[in-house]
Symmetry: C2
Subunit: 510 residues, 2 copies
């Protein structure tokens, strides 16, 4: 693509976006360094650097010139064809600009202040299992978050929740999500109960065998390189909480974590972040449009679909371990030589209700998410008072997962998200699973030999499918559009249910 024939108001706009993108990529590096290599003593100055960069990015995002150029592009009918890439780019720049300029700076400052305070309060509330002490701080954050949602609303009939959802999943509607979540919730609950009542949990003891960390790292690098992650344009480092950061053209950084006696957790995290990394590497960031929405990912739900697909659909399959178990044994001096692929795969597909979301398995995870979705939506609709959150949490937990929550620290105080005003964020985790499962069915139809390829350690056809149907488009289509274009139908819950049943039932002898 060349900019030679494009009008100046558009190329000027793209140049401003490029500067904003470059500042954003510096901010990403600064954040990555904070988690990887920064000495502890640098924390305070790092806070100042990050705040300054955030301010500069915001200045560039809200620059009046940007607004003026967007208007010029919008009225340029030749350029602004909604069917074209440039038209989509302009549409998305408008969305970003409106979002960035809609919030009064007082509200932004008050919310930042309230979030910062609420996080401190949350930390000690969780440590002391004292929800009551968290109520005033959470109330303040939630009130300001509602105010923020009111500012972000695009039409007056829009549900407040949707305005917040749009920050993470542009175009998504709570009613549509609920329509997919509710049947899934009921079927998953029933499924979990059936496993508990009629299934036999597979053997998992060998998964906690000691594997030296550096050997786990080498194995993870070999697996992700085979997936197609380009290490000449990226890295894999170690952090407390794994993440992936797409810095910009030619630089994508993944992190993972290792435990001596929990090798599946490490390789799972590594494959998960690799999914994010492959998406970032597949977005066409090189060239004159870097920094514009065309070079950005669609939504968290689509991003998460890529990570979940490699972590779960690939990474827990028998085909994958047919290839990967001998490889692991090579790296780990035969640590699993006495375990056959069948037994190993079963151990990777357990489904056991537990209290903590981030420690839960592929099946029960979604129930944790849906519980939060229902509760935060109720809070935003003023149907649930914050003081009543623990009671509501515990009731739903019993209902969905069949467990009695022993205390709030293990219950509604476990996640940092709400203290941060992150409402509308949780559902994107399960949207990721739903998107991934629906794509996975289509991919297997279109690449019938995929299982055999995976069993030989060949992932090229799979990666190419995601490149073609997802990665290359940047933000050209919305998440719903991309799913419908790729799979031929809107998002449904059946594929995820079918996927989980096909993996977990055999593991439990059903």
């Amino acid at each position: 693509m060349t900019t030679a024939t494009l009008p100046k108001h558009y190329t000027d706009l793209c140049a401003l976006m490029r500067t904003k993108g470059t500042l954003g990529s510096v901010a990403a590096l600064v954040g990555w360094d904070q988690e990887t290599y920064m000495p502890a003593g640098g924390a305070q100055a790092r806070g100042e650097q990050s705040a300054l960069l955030a301010r500069l990015v915001h200045q560039h995002a809200t620059d009046q010139k940007v607004g003026e150029l967007i208007v010029k592009c919008e009225v340029d009918s030749e350029l602004n064809n909604p069917e074209s890439e440039h038209g989509a780019n302009i549409r998305e720049m408008r969305r970003d600009y409106d979002k960035a300029t809609k919030l009064p700076s007082d509200l932004v400052a008050n919310l930042a202040q309230a979030q910062s305070e609420a996080q401190d309060v949350w930390k000690s509330a969780r440590a002391n299992n004292d929800f009551e002490s968290f109520v005033p701080a959470l109330t303040k954050v939630m009130d300001l978050t509602k105010e923020k949602a009111s500012c972000l609303k695009t039409d007056e009939h829009e549900e407040l929740y949707d305005a917040l959802l749009g920050e993470y999943e542009p175009g998504a509607k709570a009613t549509e999500i609920a329509a997919v979540f509710e049947p899934l919730r009921d079927r998953l609950s029933a499924f979990i109960a059936e496993l508990r009542d009629n299934g036999t949990a597979p053997r998992v003891d060998f998964l906690s065998r000691e594997i030296p960390v550096e050997k786990q790292h080498a194995f993870g690098q070999e697996v992700t390189a085979a997936f197609g992650f380009d290490y000449s344009k990226g890295r894999l480092d170690t952090t407390t909480h794994p993440f992936c950061s797409g810095f910009g053209p030619g630089d994508t950084r993944m992190t993972t974590r290792y435990s001596l006696t929990n090798f599946p957790d490490a390789i799972g995290s590594t494959m998960h972040e690799c999914g994010h990394g492959l998406y970032e590497q597949g977005i066409p960031k090189d060239g004159p449009f870097w920094g514009t929405p065309m070079t950005d990912s669609i939504s968290l739900g689509i991003h998460e679909s890529q990570s979940r697909m490699w972590e779960n659909m690939v990474g827990r399959s028998k085909a994958f371990w047919t290839w990967a178990l001998p490889l692991a044994n090579k790296h780990f001096d035969g640590a699993f030589d006495d375990i056959d692929v069948e037994t190993f795969t079963k151990a990777m597909n357990t489904a056991t209700p537990s209290f903590i979301r981030v420690e839960s398995d592929e099946s029960t995870y979604n129930l944790h998410v849906m519980l939060r979705f229902e509760l935060e939506r109720a809070m935003l609709r003023n149907e649930l008072a914050i003081k009543d959150l623990p009671e509501a949490w515990n009731a739903k937990f019993k209902d969905f997962l069949g467990l009695d929550v022993p205390n709030d620290a293990t219950g509604c105080l476990q996640d940092v998200h709400w203290s941060f005003g992150l409402v509308g964020y949780f559902p994107t985790y399960s949207l990721g699973n739903l998107n991934a499962a629906q794509m996975w069915e289509t991919i297997n139809e279109q690449i019938p030999e995929l299982n055999d390829q995976i069993a030989r350690g060949e992932f090229g056809a799979l990666l190419n499918w995601t490149r073609e149907h997802i990665h290359q488009h940047g933000r050209r289509y919305t998440a719903s559009e991309v799913i419908e274009r790729a799979t031929g139908k809107p998002l449904e819950s059946d594929p995820l249910m079918r996927h989980l049943e096909s993996r977990v039932r055999p593991a439990y002898g059903l």
Copy 2:
């Protein structure tokens, strides 16, 4: 120190400097990452990030508001007392502001362009041993560098060279440097000749014993931690070319390099960078004045004095190896168990003429520097045509070091500096040695038990001396002032000569 009683024009100015400093620290991180962890594919985008940050720093440095506030501070007689820290701070902010605003942006752009081109030409000229092909590019850079010097000149009688020198060594004069360099040059040349004619070179064979890199790294970390480098506020990583970057409050990053069969090079580089690191950690960067000249280092010559002191005065002494050799043997599984401290120390104090500056020893190094100083000063005075550089280089090389330069690649093409317009930079290397030697004599007078302390691995008194006399002052005093205040006399060449003779003569049995 508090800002409560300070006038608003000063605190506002300091706040602007803080923003500039914070941007500078981000630029430093971006540069560090480029050398340490950035994947190769990130190079192009990194160039764009660095250029953007440089532009932002420059914008902040040349902001008209900064100029206006400096004027207000200058006429505030209560604040602007030249004897006070704040007065010094204002003086130095004026120096920086004038320097940053004096260069026309056209000249800056042309010079950047010419430097970039000249570097490419230099690379292939050096590879092909073809000086002639380098002449046009070097001529262009030198012409623009002279133009730059004319813009930077503070009075019309000033030597052009001094204007460039001031970039690296504020306040220094070429005539003063020449007055110290010339006697040193002659004595060093004679010393080298005497060693060659009458001395017996010490045994060095054991220095190339194979030492695993990770063991060298652990040893280097233990040595520098003992020197006083605070690893909770810094790091040591590996790069092709060692460097140290003071990112700002609480974050100082050193790098070194390892060779399996050249352990002295690695530990020398590590101690060298640690000297820079200790200086950076000793400058009071915490608090409200971060970003102002008070929180910056004085000059390259002073910075280099700190690195050379730890690398050479400490790191090549018998006292040091009395402590460090057993420590090395512990780390290296007794690799030097058969070598006594006397023999080891002698091997660390050789003086042998060679062609390449960066590979030369402590004594001959200064002759390489003085040769460059004389030649670049002559070029700037139009006393030496660029086409005649090889001939002049080779003649001086024979004269100073007694060797016939075999070709230009090994001669005047060996350094990147001139292609970069770095004129006035070289002398700071030897100024570092001179400063260090003069301080070292004073320190040993004031801490008579220093040798015994070092032999026990105790470096606290030494570090405290540098903290008190050098580090804590930031840019309050000029380099000459700081040396004179610390040692009681202006810079002389005798201490360096005495230092070298005291170390090298015994090694050569003289």
